[in-house]
């Protein structure tokens, strides 16, 4: 029995790899298991290798795992590309005709003629993936009624014959596996939990989180890997009385957002790096005009068009600073699918309460990954509202009244609240003001919001702490790199290396009190992140004047726990080497 199980299905795009993976996910979620997936797909429109990895466990998971327990390859290319990731005791399931390497072939191999069964026995090549599902149902010990029920749901909209066809393919796969795969090593799903879980992708969690937070208007322009957020909302938001508009470009999308939000509607857009850069001028306007906005950036490999289907965490600098002039904004970084839901809601609360733009920084791996979420975690209501003005007759309403960081906003249509909002520097009334007093006072007003947020209960306890609270080695990371880091820290501690971790979920403003305390208490700070230059490490160095050890990666895939463990071990060895007494100096003397 495995405490958790990591399996990967690999094949050619179009062979049904994702269908197999998603079906397995759904069954596992209904069995009450925790799961996290990872998938890669080519940037080509059609064709190219793709894979989906699933990690299943009885316990909560923080990343998609590392060594595979089970690898399913639908063709030779898939086998050649993926075999090295199979664990020592792992099993391989592959198309019968695949050739195995002379050296390093796994001990357990199931060669199955998927293609032959599909073509000869079912009469259609496209049902091959359902044959694979049949074989896996046997190997994993999936409850047959659950699999059949899911297929019935999946093909409910098609005619009866299509469903029968697929159920037959499932049976053929199961029967073949029963006959040929028994008596050898079998792989079983971990036993299920008590409660059925929800199965969502990061993008779906963002969209659902926006709905739960009361989004009324969504504007966007299609871009990988964020498009699904708009697609999901286009399908569902109108039913709830909301509006979704695909605009002519990203500049128009955020322009519409600015107008709709000023007019009082909770509004949002979602994009990726190239889109965010186009939006940066308007982000400055939103800061200047003090208009709430939620902007989701699902990062991908950059710069420029870069690697549109691969993950990276390299928009941090753009998210933090992208605009001309000093343009304070909030940046939040979810670490998991459930977090995508929660942090999108928080983004709306902060945007509305503080009347400024909030960027939700996720990445391709988080957008695309499926994860189980406890149903109770997606219940939410707006926790903060926009401070609205109640203009009194007589005195002119001052939209930008100085004093508190947040001045009450009059929404267009409110009697007596007529005012100007503008991207120009202005006085309290919103009128153009180019003098030094106005610019200084309004700069203070805009920046003070971040200080106020630092003290707000909404952002209290947003950071995660992991590992040994007395350790000298600290790991600080953000976003989707938090999961692998959490596992790496646990693994290193089990190896006897004391290490602890800190993950802030809000990157602007940084949670200064907790972060400074953590950084001050450790001797070595390792910063794992998915970009070339170590953008977050640079932010920490600039803010706190500390030294950091960067662990960066730009391969388009997430960090693995093992890579982070390696860095921790290195740091531990260096610390040990330094603390050894050096020749010629008395023991105990500081070196």
């Amino acid at each position: 029995m495995h405490p958790d199980l990591t399996l990967r299905i690999a094949g050619e795009s179009g062979e049904g790899v994702i269908t197999i993976g998603e079906t397995l996910c759904k069954i596992a979620a209904r069995e009450g298991l925790h799961l996290v997936t990872f998938r890669t797909f080519p940037a080509e429109i059609k064709g190219g290798p793709c894979m989906m990895q699933l990690r299943l466990s009885e316990k909560a998971l923080s990343c998609h795992g590392e060594r595979l327990d089970l690898l399913v390859c639908l063709n030779q290319q898939a086998l050649d590309d993926n075999l090295e990731d199979l664990g020592e005791d792992g099993a391989l399931v592959c198309e019968a005709e695949c050739e195995l390497p002379d050296e390093g072939a796994p001990r357990t191999v199931y060669r199955i003629p998927f293609e032959r069964i599909a073509v000869r026995e079912i009469g259609s090549r496209i049902s091959k993936n359902i044959v694979v599902l049949g074989v896996l149902s046997h190997l994993l010990g999936l409850p047959k009624p659950a699999v059949e029920k899911l297929l019935s749901e999946k093909f409910a909209r098609k005619n009866r014959a299509v469903l029968e066809h697929n159920l037959e393919a499932l049976r053929r796969g199961l029967d073949y596996a029963r006959e040929h795969c028994s008596g050898r090593k079998t792989i079983r799903l971990p036993p299920g939990g008590k409660q059925n879980k929800l199965l969502l992708s990061g993008n779906e969690a963002v969209a659902l989180g926006a709905v739960a937070a009361g989004v009324k208007c969504f504007f966007g322009y299609p871009i990988t890997p964020a498009s699904e957020i708009m697609e999901w909302l286009a399908l569902h938001l109108p039913r709830l009385g909301g509006k979704v508009l695909q605009t002519e470009d990203e500049i128009a999308a955020i322009g519409c957002l600015a107008g709709a939000s000023w007019a009082g509607a909770r509004s949002m857009t979602a994009t990726s790096g190239p889109g965010l850069s186009l939006m940066s001028e308007t982000i400055g306007l939103l800061t200047m005009a003090e208009i709430p906005a939620v902007i989701v950036d699902s990062q991908r490999g950059g710069p420029s068009t870069g690697m549109p289907t691969k993950t990276e965490q390299s928009d941090l600098n753009l998210a933090l600073y992208g605009a001309h002039g000093d343009s304070p904004r909030v940046v939040v970084a979810p670490t998991s699918v459930a977090d995508c839901f929660r942090m999108t809601g928080l983004a709306f609360d902060l945007a509305e309460k503080y009347q400024l733009p909030v960027i939700v920084l996720i990445d391709q791996a988080l957008s695309a990954r499926l994860e189980t979420v406890e149903p109770g975690l997606v219940e939410r209501k707006p926790a903060a509202l926009r401070l609205l003005a109640e203009p009194a007759g007589g005195a002119a309403y001052a939209r930008y009244r100085l004093g508190p960081a947040v001045s009450p906003a009059a929404v267009p249509g409110t009697e007596g609240g007529e005012h100007m909002v503008t991207g120009m520097e202005h006085d309290e009334l919103g009128n153009f003001a180019c003098d030094e007093e106005a610019h200084t006072a309004m700069s203070v007003k805009r920046h003070r919001k971040l200080e106020a947020i630092n003290d707000d209960a909404l952002v209290r306890d947003l950071s995660s702490h992991f590992g040994d609270p007395d350790a000298d080695i600290g790991v600080v990371t953000w976003g989707s790199s938090a999961g692998p880091a959490e596992e790496a820290i646990a693994a290193a501690n089990r190896m006897g290396i004391p290490v602890r971790g800190f993950v802030p979920r809000i990157l602007s403003p940084l949670p200064h009190r907790d972060l400074a305390k953590f950084l001050g208490a450790v001797k070595r700070v390792i910063v794992p992140e998915l970009n070339f230059t170590g953008q977050f490490a640079a932010l920490l160095r600039a803010t706190y004047g500390i030294r950091t050890t960067s662990l960066t990666k730009v391969k388009g895939v997430p960090l693995s726990p093992g890579e982070i463990v390696e860095k921790i071990v290195e740091a531990a060895e260096e610390i040990a080497a330094r603390s050894k007494p050096t020749h010629g100096k008395a023991a105990g003397q500081r070196v």
């Binding site: 569902h236 128009a252 107008g259 007019a263 267009p412 100007m420």
Partner: protein, 285 residues
């Protein structure tokens, strides 16, 4: 400013216009507030949206909700305002550079979406705010600071563009003909859908040749009384006339607005059922 009705003066914010003496935009401002007065729209239900440039300063001078945005982006901003609160009377103001150069990509989409607002494009054929560079409507032969030896590209005809882009209301006015312009603005605001009004105006500081008042007066003509504005090709013929500058309503068509379409989409979506949050969550179970 010349004599205005008292009711029109109530739409003045009290902020003194920053335009140069002799600027044609003063005339447009007075026509606009007279139109508001005649319409009787309460100032708090009025949203004026603009981009950047001399024309885009106008919202400061009017008592209304005003959004002075960034260069070229007035149309998307106004579209957002209208979608969020369809009850507002939304008027977009901007110049030829703002609307046809940097913001030129937004015009076809505001037109095809048929957003129910009125776009006043002040055409003085020059960049005034940045002090005298050519704009998309500057004449080919013009000498400007960035075209000392003539222009590199052809001249854009704003009204013709709007007709071709499918705007459901297209008119052309002249800042000097204030009563006529006021009526055009009134018609534009009353029209359900995207109303595009090109307003010819002189720039007293940087373009006194192209948009010379005397030249326009000489060439201007009223849209013929037998013109059928429902026919876009006829409208285009008038808009692109080589000698005459036709003033008046060139094109008018009735079709659903963006708001109508959004309501239809909401109805269609509701017909599929499952409109509660719990139903959304259930699809992930």
């Amino acid at each position: 400013m010349e004599k205005l009705q008292d009711s029109a003066c109530e739409y003045l914010s009290g902020v003194c216009p920053v335009w140069c003496p002799g600027c044609g935009y003063y005339g447009i401002l007075s026509s606009l507030i007279e139109a508001f007065a005649e319409l009787g729209v309460p100032s708090h239900e009025l949203a004026l949206v603009s981009g950047i440039g001399c024309a885009s300063r106008l919202p400061y001078f009017v008592k209304a909700y005003g959004f002075h945005g960034i260069h070229g982006r007035a149309l998307p901003i106004a579209q957002g305002v209208k979608l969020a609160n369809p009850k507002l009377t939304v008027v977009v103001v901007g110049g030829d550079g703002d609307g046809l150069a940097i913001g030129g990509g937004h015009l076809p989409h505001a037109a095809r979406n048929n957003v129910d607002f009125t776009y006043l494009l002040f055409n003085n054929a020059i960049y005034g705010m940045t002090k005298g560079q050519f704009s998309p409507t500057t004449m080919l032969s013009a000498v400007t600071k960035t075209s000392p030896f003539g222009l590199p590209g052809e001249t854009v005809n704003p009204a013709a563009l709007a007709i071709v882009y499918g705007a459901s209301f297209v008119a052309r006015g002249f800042s000097v003909k204030k009563e006529h312009l006021k009526n055009l603005i009134l018609e534009g605001i009353r029209h359900r859908g995207f109303s595009f009004i090109e307003i010819l105006a002189s720039c007293a500081s940087f373009n006194t040749t192209d948009m010379n008042v005397a030249r326009i007066i000489k060439a201007m003509a009223s849209v013929p009384s037998d013109h059928d504005p429902a026919k876009p090709l006829e409208a285009l013929r008038l808009a692109t006339h080589e000698e005459k500058i036709y003033l008046g309503v060139l094109h008018r068509a009735e079709r659903p607005t963006l708001e109508d379409r959004c309501s239809e989409i909401q109805r269609a979506a509701r017909a599929r059922g499952g409109g509660a949050y719990a139903d959304l969550v259930a699809q992930f179970a």
